[in-house]
Symmetry: C2
Subunit: 109 residues, 2 copies
DNA sequence: TCAATGTTTCACTAATTATTGAATTATTGA
DNA sequence: TCAATAATTCAATAATTAGTGAAACATTGA
């Protein structure tokens, strides 16, 4: 994973509404959530929500699929894994500590 | 871990110089690095470096210890673990996926 | 105590980001 | 095609953040 993309992803997550959106989608799993559902769940204005969804999408952390008049957003677990890996790889120069693989195996589509 | 602290930590990491500082310290492990070493390694001005070290410290991601005229900075692995946990916990409502514990066991002091 | 070294704080400017309401686009069902 | 619903884009303002150079603070060794 490229440093620039890591920064984009971290910046996307470093905001209250977006962090809550992302957590909501991580918990929701493959079934995802629509902006309407998220707007209600989080008490966020549709405009603001849309703005933040775009940020998260651009960062690759979530993706949308249309279903009728609804969009279904889902967390992108592979990118999440890459992100965690970037932060933890090569810890302690590989010495004197466990370089544990941080991996989630859900919702990989 | 509190949401506000998670956001602080993510925001701290979401900046090029700070991400590089943090990675440098994660790789360095228990022996840490001084601002002087980091300034040279990263090609960052001392003033800017100091500003970013403060941000990372306030977020709890790194900590300093004085050694003569040098300060030795080290990554705080426990906070890192908490952060990764916050992002990944309760994935997919605990169903149909592995809720893997993301944990680093190095430099825990 | 004084000069040198390592690091931080301060004050300022430039740039980026969040929020809001109004307008717009896409889809569905009558 | 028209009205209704779902979501996004646009434009403007307010707030936050990064980078810079000068000054200040802390520690060491002579």
């Amino acid at each position: 994973m490229e440093e620039a993309n890591v920064i984009k992803a971290l910046a996307a997550l470093a905001q209250e509404t977006r962090l809550r959106i992302f957590r909501l989608l991580v918990v929701a799993g493959p079934q995802g959530q629509t902006p309407g559902q998220m707007s209600e769940a989080l008490g966020a204005a549709p405009t603001a929500l849309s703005f933040h969804l775009k940020e998260l999408s651009h960062a690759g952390l979530i993706a949308a699929e249309r279903n009728g008049r609804n969009l279904i957003y889902r967390a992108s677990i592979p990118l999440m894994n890459d992100l965690l890996g970037f932060l933890t790889d090569h810890c302690c120069e590989g010495q004197a500590c466990l370089d544990v693989t941080t991996k989630l195996d859900c919702n990989t589509g």
